[in-house]
């Protein structure tokens, strides 16, 4: 059917993937700019998985 349906799938999947990637990269970049967590008392879960990013 001249590819309309497949194009629809492609647009939806590409948009979702790029949005997800942009969220993760923006989150990493913000984390890198911040000092180690715990000092400000804001209720964010300690980012255990990324703790190696914050230590130089």
């Amino acid at each position: 059917m001249s590819g309309y349906t497949e194009a629809g799938y492609a647009i939806v999947l590409c948009t979702l993937v790029s949005y997800a990637v942009s969220l993760v990269t923006r989150e990493r970049a913000t984390r890198r700019r911040l000092p180690p967590p715990g000092s400000t008392g804001i209720d964010l879960q300690p980012p255990r998985g990324h703790s190696n990013l914050e230590r130089p």
Binding site: M1, T5, G8, L34, I42, Q45
Partner: protein, 245 residues
């Protein structure tokens, strides 16, 4: 709180993996395994497995944003986390509304024969998209954090007024669009066999994807907030030093 548990790295990773696997399975079943439907030209029924799930997530996301806005406005539950949650859910909702409109437009072209019609459902959904874009713009208007949050929560409630209109548009007015694929009141649908299972899987995977995206957007908002606070402290310290000198 459940919110905090979902927000941990491990839980998010498990959720993300499940969402991804579900999406892959939905696309594979939807594009290659499920049969053609009676009356549909070759393959044109296949948008069935993603278009209703996208629309469903749109409703869930705006419902979540509205609930969070209410919790922020309610004095006893007022907390910045609900402001972040509302913003996160609405942003994901806007992405899904855009995709609902695009996938619907393509499906309309292949079945109805037109890309667009000024039909009640389509028109109110387009309005919903623009209303929430406006909500996101209002979130970006600078000001004192608490004022911004309160103003955003009110704007969020105003934007939500269109959600029930979209939901009932098909039953209130004459529409080109067919009725709901799954009747939420009775749980009934007229989708048969493997098509029904694939559609069900689509609903589950898109919902999981929504939760994953929203949780990440929420974490980003909390981090940005913390960054802003620290930037402010640094700026104030700098000014103080200048003044003393």
């Amino acid at each position: 709180m459940m919110l905090r548990r979902i927000n941990s790295d491990g839980a998010l990773r498990v959720l993300g993996t499940l969402a991804l696997l579900g999406m892959i399975a939905t696309v594979w079943l939807g594009l290659f395994v499920t049969p053609n439907a009676v009356g549909y030209a070759d393959g044109t029924v296949r948008l069935l497995y993603i278009h209703p799930p996208l629309a469903w997530v749109m409703f869930v996301a705006y419902g979540m944003a509205t609930l969070s806005s209410l919790l922020y406005l309610w004095p006893r539950t007022r907390h910045p986390r609900f402001d972040h949650l509302a913003g996160a859910s609405a942003e994901v909702g806007v992405v899904f509304t855009g995709l609902t409109l695009v996938s619907g437009s393509i499906w309309g072209r292949t079945t109805w024969g037109v890309w667009w019609a000024w039909d009640p459902l389509l028109t109110t959904t387009a309005l919903l998209f623009v209303l929430y874009l406006g909500y996101l713009a209002i979130r970006n208007v600078p000001g004192d954090p608490e004022t911004v949050a309160r103003r955003s929560a009110v704007a969020g409630l105003v934007a939500f007024l269109d959600v029930p209109v979209v939901f009932f548009a098909v039953s209130w007015w004459r529409s080109l669009h067919q009725g709901p694929t799954v009747n939420l009141a009775t749980g009934k649908s007229y989708v048969h066999g493997s098509m029904a299972w694939t559609l069900m899987l689509g609903f589950v995977s898109f919902t999981l994807t929504y939760i994953w995206l929203m949780a990440h957007r929420y974490r980003l908002a909390v981090l940005r907030d913390r960054e802003g606070d620290e930037g402010l402290e640094a700026a104030l310290a700098e000014r103080w030093a200048e003044a003393v000198r």
